[in-house]
Assembly symmetry: C2
Homo-oligomer: 446 residues x 2
């Protein structure tokens, strides 16, 4: 029965949805197509790289083709990280290679690498307890016990091993630091990610995969001195080009402040950034379009495909600065993969409680349940939200698998479940149909 | 209640099992300990490498400590493969890196790599159909559709893409060949393995991971010319040192031919060879020991931890040659991971049908079912089996996960399920209790 080619059939579906004849939630393949094409035609798009620039150009063309108004690039520059050669070898007591990747803003080793005694710390606190100067000339290994949680809550405390572990090691005299990846999978694919130095002089800093970390822990338990040879030649560079991509679907009342939907366009470079965060861009874009079916909403919907989120939320900061004087109605962000939305939280002020209740009711048919806890918003909408006290809505995605893939070579298209991706689009569309048709006021509680 | 440390408790259990007071199937941790220590203290042990040599020394010490008689090395030399630098980058139409590994016996590229048009073949047959000379100056990409099967039956036909694909590409003028890994997982860990050239001049030959292969297929479908930059500097080397490790548990009647149990000690180098094949050595060794509980069996049990299986079954061939004149009773091999035994087949001659029936009955309590099809035996017992028409027994392991891990960096200890490993030991022990106590004759049907 499949006579019409898939892409054509889908575009007919999409066209019919946009021309309002279709029922409100007729699925289309805009999200999948956006995700597939961005990860295939651009691939990895490291902040500040020529591939991130290619992604911006790709995004402008794609958003225009999808019917968005005025797709445009807002450029800025960043301090970025340019990856180099990466290798780690345990040279004693049991010689073997470890799967390693550099952390963003790692200091470079010489091309030939460095070698030193490897000192095992089972936790970040154990490292903190090491006497000052005790790591002089040595390499610190920092282990931890991160496990998968639906809400991703392990990334806060255990992600700190990556965020501050190398700095603490440097403060105690270490010549390099290697951490157990902030991840939850058992594959030999280390998780990269940024680290921070404050006013401490950076040292080479890398992460090994979880099987490698377990191997190091087993070897450490045998009690013989360990030595590591480490090569991480990547470098921090200033003034690298980056930028945001913005576009709108104008509402019926152009005087009303827009709804801002954000994702990030850059990705870490080992994978193609399918779940982090091409999926987010695909979801918000497809939902913005699908929310047009049945008639243009009252408010303009703006999409922000932010640049250089990974290395330090540069895109969100630039957006907050450039658009500070421009009123916004509400902001939402999709940046937690492509698995299903299971929960929601909003930060509406008391006056908008009825609106909150309508959103909760609209999402219930998708199995989405109101959750407690503080509303997070998202990294790239953080600056504008704070400046304008915007209300935000968290559509909380199932993060059980997220840290299996996050910042690894395994973040590729095949990891996305089309049915769960579609559920995200349906959830976002349901929310947009409400908030983009609300004349206001829309007020944030904090 | 855990007052005795685990290792001590286990060694007490083991001692009691060996001293015959324990019930016949009392579990012990010999298999796990062997597996863990070999993969941790030696790690990767490529055929012909100094790490394979370290593994032989380790094996002699360990087998002696476990109570085996006369653990010894039988040396030989091999044509091996020494891994070098490995990188692949699609330079057009959408620049991005691919996760690649060299195949054993690949020709080296120059240090700076080679670059050429990449021609996509969806199947090995499509490559075969390409006109002679049509690949002159180009790089062949060979895709295929291997899927996971319980019995591993996909590895025959789809493994051929690796075994003969590069040679066919070379015959048609290709300057290099890259295949979709012969595997079933969706991780960015390519599967290595040997390839063969016959009298064709070798070309550089590599494998990319399955997500990368799908990416290449998607890009190929867009119809724009593809170009690949490929660096694989590893080299084939002659006269590399290797060897087998042998040891015995003598039977009550030293005049009866021994039962031969084989595994292989070498591993491909990206992982630590936990499932391929430290698990096999762990299983046969633990079962040989456990079969001693309750009294020494009639026949001697010999373990063969073969060298250099991966690159060309050199250990099995050497064993067949060195021990050609020495009678054997029966041979068995464990080389298909550590997941549970689900089936059995034997190649006993008609005269041994009652013995076959006893083995089937002894394995039924473990959920093991007699299977149809031809008995395989195993690579390392192949030469001696053929020379002496030995009966063999296949204890067929669940291979559903095997080709997710096979020949990849992901072949590490954490992938082994201790409960399934123990089920293997129990199955092997049950068989050994029968065959090692059978006075004979033991005759093979083929």
């Amino acid at each position: 029965m499949r006579i019409v080619p898939m892409a054509l059939a889908a575009s007919v579906l999409l066209a019919s949805a946009m021309l309002s004849a279709a029922p409100p939630s007729a699925p289309d393949d805009t999200a999948w197509r956006t995700l597939e094409d961005l990860t295939t035609e651009v691939g990895p798009r490291l902040a500040g790289s020529d591939r991130e620039a290619a992604a911006r150009d790709w995004a402008v063309v794609r958003l225009k083709a999808l019917g968005f108004s005025n797709p445009r690039i807002e450029p800025f520059t960043i301090r970025g990280y340019v990856r180099g050669a990466e290798a780690a070898r345990l040279t004693a007591p049991f010689p073997q290679n470890l799967a390693v990747t550099a952390l963003g803003y790692s200091a470079p080793t010489p091309a030939g690498g460095i070698e030193g005694e490897l000192v095992y710390f089972p936790t970040l606190d154990a490292l903190r307890a090491a006497p000052d100067g005790s790591l002089k000339g040595k390499i610190a290994f920092i282990d931890h016990a991160m496990k998968a949680n639906q809400d991703g809550s392990g990334y806060g405390p255990f992600g700190n091993v990556r965020r501050v572990g190398p700095r603490i090691a440097a403060q105690k005299g270490a010549i390099a630091a290697v951490i157990r990846s902030a991840g939850t999978d058992m594959h030999r694919n280390p998780h990269t990610g940024g680290t921070g130095w404050g006013d401490v002089t950076p040292i080479p800093a890398g992460a090994v995969s979880l099987p490698d970390a377990e191997q190091v822990a087993r070897i450490a338990a045998k009690g013989k001195p360990m030595r590591l040879a480490l090569t991480l030649t990547g470098q921090t560079k200033d003034n690298l080009p980056s930028g945001n991509v913005l576009a709108e679907l104008p509402g019926r009342d152009p005087k009303l402040p827009p709804i801002l939907l954000a994702c990030h366009l850059d990705s870490w470079d080992p994978g193609t950034g399918a779940i982090d965060d091409a999926a987010g861009c695909a979801i918000i874009t497809a939902a913005a379009l699908r929310a047009q079916a049945g008639g243009k909403p009252l408010r303009t919907i703006r999409v922000l495909w932010a640049g250089s989120e990974e290395i330090g939320v540069f895109g969100g900061a630039d957006y907050g600065k450039v658009h500070a004087a421009e009123p916004h109605a509400l902001a939402m962000e999709s940046d937690f993969g492509a698995d299903r939305v299971y929960g929601l939280r909003t930060s509406f002020a008391e006056v908008n409680k009825p609106l909150h209740a309508r959103i909760v009711a609209a999402l219930a048919p998708l199995g989405i349940v109101e959750q407690g806890g503080e509303v997070e918003g998202g990294a790239d909408i953080g600056a504008i939200r704070k400046a304008q006290k915007l209300p935000v809505i968290d559509l909380m995605q199932d993060g059980t698998r997220y840290f299996d893939l996050h910042h690894t070579p395994d973040d590729t298209l095949d990891k996305v479940d089309p049915a769960q991706l579609e559920q995200n689009v349906a959830a976002w569309t349901a929310v947009l149909r409400i908030v983009a048709n609300e004349a206001g006021p829309l007020n944030g509680a904090n």
